[in-house]
């Protein structure tokens, strides 16, 4: 008990230290914060009323974002099935699953926007770099989720099928798959929602989608048009989340 108390003390000291260090070195000028109010009001004022003439751009942009998220998720699923099995503690030896898990953590650590910038450099502008970036980035999480689903399988039914004379493939099909199917479906839908949210910003670095229009309108001071696109993005996120909630209820 005493050692745990001491651990809490050091953790608290560390947090206070980091906060103080940030305050002292961040170069925060309170006067700038005071004058921010009027400027935000001015900015918001120029966004209203939102310009409804950009419907065509919104339609094109959202369709492309949806395509990027869909194909990116598909790519991630295809990559995550073998990687998920290789990252599983129960299916493969530590010599394999440990390095695969480290690799996946490494993939997760790279921000999507950075991967997208690299891909724009590699394959040029448009939706393709966005799709590749989403597929790569999402695999880091999805393969880990799949591995956890496989590891969460109850071993008894698998042993029962082995005892009945079913080989490894049949055990996978009739004992493991029925157990992991709802988890895999839920995780995949969850990841699709994240992919859609995250791919909204891809247009800013030229990797396709609706973000391109936000960036274009803000840069050219057409705040009313940027406002319309922003509203469209918010609506899209809410709709997808609602669909996700409905779908997830089915997989229990």
């Amino acid at each position: 008990m005493r050692r745990r108390d001491l651990g809490g003390f050091w953790a608290g000291l560390l947090i206070v230290g980091v906060v103080l260090w940030s305050f002292v070195t961040a170069d925060v000028e309170l006067s700038r914060l005071m004058s921010a109010g009027p400027r935000i009001a001015d900015f918001l004022g120029r966004m209203f009323p939102p310009d409804p003439t950009v419907m065509e751009e919104i339609r094109k942009g959202s369709a492309e974002t949806l395509r990027i998220a869909t194909l990116g998720t598909l790519g991630a699923v295809i990559l995550s099935i073998p990687l998920g099995i290789l990252a599983s503690e129960t299916m493969v030896s530590p010599a394999i699953h440990r390095p695969v898990r480290i690799f996946l953590a490494f993939v997760r650590a790279i921000p999507l926007i950075l991967v997208a910038m690299l891909m724009v450099g590699a394959v040029g502008l448009g939706p393709l770099p966005g799709i590749i970036a989403v597929a790569f980035h999402a695999t880091g999480m999805l393969a880990k989720f799949y591995a956890e689903a496989v590891d969460g399988v109850s071993p008894a039914p698998v042993a029962a099928l082995e005892s009945a004379g079913a080989g490894p493939l049949l055990r996978l099909r009739h004992a493991i798959w029925p157990q992991i199917a709802p988890v895999v479906a839920r995780d995949t839908i969850f990841r699709f929602e994240l992919n859609l949210r995250e791919s909204l910003i891809l247009g800013i670095v030229g990797a396709g989608g609706i973000g391109f229009y936000i960036q274009t309108y803000v840069r050219s001071f057409q705040y009313d048009k940027a406002a319309s696109v922003t509203i469209a993005v918010i609506v899209m996120v809410i709709v997808i989340e609602a669909i996700n909630v409905l779908l997830r209820r089915r997989f229990t």
């Binding site: 082995e162 005892s163 009945a164 079913a166 009739h174 029925p178």
Partner: protein
Amino acid sequence: MGNVIDIDDLSFRHDAAAQNALEQVSLRVATGERIALLGPSGAGKTTLLTLLDGRLRGWRGRVSVLGQAQEPERAPPLADRADTGFIFQEFALVERSTAMRNVLNGRLGRMPGWRALSGRAAKRDLDIASAALSNCGIADLADRRVDSLSGGQRQRVAIARCLAQEPRVIFADEPVSNLDPSRAAEILMLLTTAAKARGATTIFSSHQPELARRFADRVIGMRNGRIVFDLPTGQLTDDATAALYDDAVPLPAARLKVVN
């Protein structure tokens, strides 16, 4: 006919265990016998049955099941496994699948590969599975998901799966320890009757001497991995069963739980 099971000097130790789970066990079982394995927890009953079912590696001694010599380091060929059925204490059913699907799983080793993989069973397999469900008195539960069934119903599904497998020998690991006493007798009656009708040999393990008396013709007592008696049911005395449990050392883990 030869013996169903021949065991000589069988010893086995689980990974990282301090003691052998089986210690120089020798045993012969003839076709059609109904045998009860009695003994306290940790006596080696589950280990012995699991080993005979071909799911343990690294044992020492000689083991032969249905005339096939077993190899200590290699799983028996899949073709042979369907001949030995196993009933698990915790049912070991696929919870999200229907009762029918679970019973058909018992047929997987008997189906051609493509049929087994697709899960579309042939009429013959469906008929056998349906008959097994009826035998166990749960024909009306065929389309229910297992996670919606009670403990007794689940154990019936598990027995139906084993019967649908059409095994020549059935190993049942405490098949009724999760059930209340009247249910337990019912289920054991069902199991031993169905096995007898098929001419299958049955070995079941239990904590309860009265169930062994009722449903077995031979009783084997185990303690600390050894066989301590092996008697026709008629010769089983209360002293013999009492000796199995007498001064049984309480598990240290159980003690710690009480203290905390």
